[in-house]
């Protein structure tokens, strides 16, 4: 809560600074006459042939899905790593180790499955 105000202010400052740069450059830059040719996509002097929509590999969104899952798993490891030594000092070292070991084993199993199923192959 305490740090929220400076974060907000800093964000505001940076955003203002950035917008100012963009605005200044658009004011100072020369305005040339826009012709149709200038707006055309340049493809070795020939008119474009491909369709507007791009065929993008499904891998990208698959990567994003896998990222979400693993990201969450890593995030749940953070509190564990934070309190790991507290648990050890309280005498529950083995407990907390095995709790996370099961979790990591599941993580690793998933990862190996994905590698084995060729979900991470880029061709």
């Amino acid at each position: 809560m305490e740090a929220l105000v400076p974060i907000l202010v800093l964000t505001l400052v940076v955003a203002t600074f950035g917008s100012l740069l963009v605005y200044v450059s658009s004011i100072l830059g020369p305005k040339k006459h826009y012709t149709r040719t200038k707006y055309m996509p340049y493809e070795c002097g020939l008119p474009g042939t491909e369709s507007e929509t791009t065929n993008v590999s499904v891998r990208y969104y698959l990567t994003a899905i896998l990222f979400i899952v693993f990201d969450i798993e890593i995030l749940f490891m953070y509190p564990w790593a934070l309190t790991y030594r507290d648990f050890i000092e309280a005498g529950h070292g083995a407990y907390i180790f095995w709790v996370m070991f099961v979790f990591i084993a599941l993580f690793l199993f998933g990862l190996i499955w994905e590698i084995r199923s060729k979900a991470l192959e880029w061709d």
Binding site: M1, A3, L4, V5, L8, S51, E52, T53, T54, N55, V56, S57, V58, Y60, Y61, L62, A64, I65, L66, F67, I68, V69, D71, I72, E73, L75, F76, Y78, P79, W80, L82, T83, D86, F87, I96, V99, V102, F103, L106, F107, F109, G110, W113, E114, S117, A119
Partner: protein, 174 residues
Amino acid sequence: MADIVVFYIFAGISLAAAAGVVFHPNPVVSVLHLVAAMVGVSGLFFTLGAPFIGMVQILVYAGAVIILFLFVVMIFDLKTDGKNPFTYGLVTHYAKLLFIGCLTGLLLSKLLFKLDGFEFQSPDPLAPQYEVRNLAKVMFTDYMFMFEVLGLLLLVIPIGAVALSRVRGGTHAE
């Protein structure tokens, strides 16, 4: 004073952005509004003494889930949903509106004016109950089973997603 301003800023951001998500006809813009809504809610978490939750919110939602949404709408090149982005049924349309109105009214009347049943302590802003350390200790003891089940769920999810997407070719391939 500062906390009031901060609260209104974030509440305003999240509600306005939520409205944007729901009512803007272009899904890409909806996604962008969703980011703003998530950041707003995250800020509210900060004001509620749960900065860790707020950061997780940003990291998971803004940093991962919405990136995925954005990937999908960008890869599919989804433009606006036509003139009317809403579904329309003869009766159900009005029924939906009616009951949404009912729910709003109920929430307003019951939540804002009759919230008596609880004993709310005035919270100490420095109270450490949301410190990550305490949170972790409870999570790895009381919620241990739930935690492992979550691990199992997170194992199943990518397997399902990968199995679903095991198709050759790209998004616009014939």
